[in-house]
């Protein structure tokens, strides 16, 4: 169990303690304020070098991480995989060694293979590794920013100071996660974050898109989707990952929408104060009705804007306070 990510890697939310998660959420509150300033930049990581290695396409996560690093005054080395030697057959190990030779303090890694981030952390133990999504395993910063967004929204509604509230707003909170649980690293990170903070998590989706055993992750299966919608305080929708061949797991997209899409009709079953979330990019009209996604219960845009401050908090805690790159 990791009690703090100060000077540590962020590979998975499964091994992070409640205190470690709350520490990141609290630090992110300070960075929300930094992002509201006219000059949205602080010198905390001046002279540090962050390598942004995305072996899998992801414009928004990459932009969010690179913006976060730049607002901390770090220098960013960005590897464009499409035009790199990876295409020429270079191994992950050699690519990391090459980048490391340039003198780096941290790697932000996105990779299609589960466990890639941990692997890299063994190749370069002197470099901090932040997992930006590895295969079907974990997407820790997404889980953190989702938890941050829930706490921020609930604290605002109840007139509480989010930092002083600690994890109390999660105690007994009922979260429903809907969709392709099986292939989703977001689901794994979300479930880890929510359950560690004290929430109760249920999952719903077509049987073909559910994992063998959700109980191992600390969640339970919702037997009835409509009933679960009435039960939930928070509904987290997942994207149907067409690029991962999800379509072969459902008869048609239309059928998915009919059975598990958050249509206007189904959204009307929700509690008036229930929150609707989506990690993006959304397939409007598939997982969620377009009007519902833009409605007052949706906090999807907040999730996007919280990405930068949460990633600033992760990079700051992980990299600052460490000796400089040799």
């Amino acid at each position: 169990m990791i009690e703090t990510i100060r000077g540590q890697n962020l590979l998975s939310l499964n091994d992070l303690s409640k205190d470690a998660i709350i520490e990141i959420l609290n630090e992110a509150e300070s960075f929300v304020e930094v992002n509201e300033r006219a000059i949205k930049k602080v010198p905390a990581l001046k002279g540090r070098v962050v390598a942004s290695l995305f072996f899998e396409e992801s414009t928004r996560t990459r932009l969010s991480f690179e913006t976060a690093a730049k607002r901390l005054s770090a220098d960013v080395l960005s590897l464009a995989v499409a035009s790199s030697s990876v295409k020429k057959g270079e191994s992950l190990r050699d690519t990391i060694a090459t980048v490391d030779a340039l003198g780096i303090d941290a790697v932000v890694l996105r990779h299609a293979s589960s466990g890639a981030a941990e692997q890299v952390s063994r190749y370069v133990p002197h470099v901090r590794v932040v997992n930006a999504g590895d295969g079907q395993h974990q997407h820790p910063t997404q889980g953190l920013l989702d938890a941050f967004t829930i706490r921020q929204t609930l604290a605002e509604r109840r007139g509480l100071d989010p930092i002083a509230s600690g994890a109390t707003l999660f105690e007994g909170l009922k979260v429903l996660i809907v969709g392709d649980i099986r292939h989703s690293r977001v689901a794994r990170s979300d479930i880890a974050a929510y359950t560690t903070l004290g929430a109760e998590v249920r999952v719903a989706g077509p049987p073909t898109l559910l994992p063998q055993s959700v109980a191992q992750w600390g969640a339970t299966l919702a037997p009835n989707f409509e009933e679960a919608l009435r039960w939930a305080d928070v509904v987290g929708l997942l994207r149907l990952q067409r690029e991962r061949g999800t379509e072969s797991f459902v008869p048609t997209l239309n059928e998915y929408t009919t059975t598990f899409g958050l249509t206007q009709e189904r959204a009307s079953l929700l509690k008036p104060g229930a929150l609707i979330m989506h990690p993006g990019p959304m397939n409007r009209g598939v997982e969620v009705d377009s009007k519902v996604a833009d409605g007052p219960q949706a906090i999807i845009r907040r999730q996007v804007s919280n990405g930068v401050p949460v990633r600033m908090a992760v990079l700051y805690l992980s990299i600052a306070g460490l000796g400089r790159a040799k």
């Binding site: 300070s30 304020e33 300033r37 905390a44 805690l317 400089r324």
Partner: protein, 189 residues
Amino acid sequence: MDQHVQRQDHSGGLAFIAKSELLNADEVARALKRMAHEIVERNLNLENVVLVAVQRGGVPFGQVLQGLLADIGGQAIALGLLDVSFYRDDLDQRPVPTSAATSIPSSLEEKTVILVDDVLFTGRTIRAAFTALSDWGRPRVVQLAVMVDRGHRELPIRPDYVGKNLPSSRDEAIVAQIDGVWIGTRGAQ
């Protein structure tokens, strides 16, 4: 006097063990009143004055000075809060500090900024504060008010308003709060 002084601590989590009380609450109050008078004397036009308290120790002193300046100068003065964690030059030499809220009420362009802190020691916190302040504009002048100046400067920084000069040894710890000033040591309980 063996007294344990509670204080929100962010300097590595070491407890402060007080050896003796140097100022009591009344003496702190009197010192702050004198400082407020000096501020009014030096800044005839309080209209352009903004107080900026350094998190966390400077905040209670900033709040008291704000009240006193309103009474003496007959004018409401804005109070900003500034956390300097992200601007420190020793970030790679100590545990990563936990930051606190920053809120600067307006642009500081052409303002008279009075920085307020509890204890002036090496001057590195104030150096960090200068860098931070410049992100909100270019103040016309920056002045420094501290409850205690304990010496041992590592940078050419001097205070404009001092509650109490307390020459101290480097190994000692000094805690300044609204209810008193103590000298002691920092260590495991």
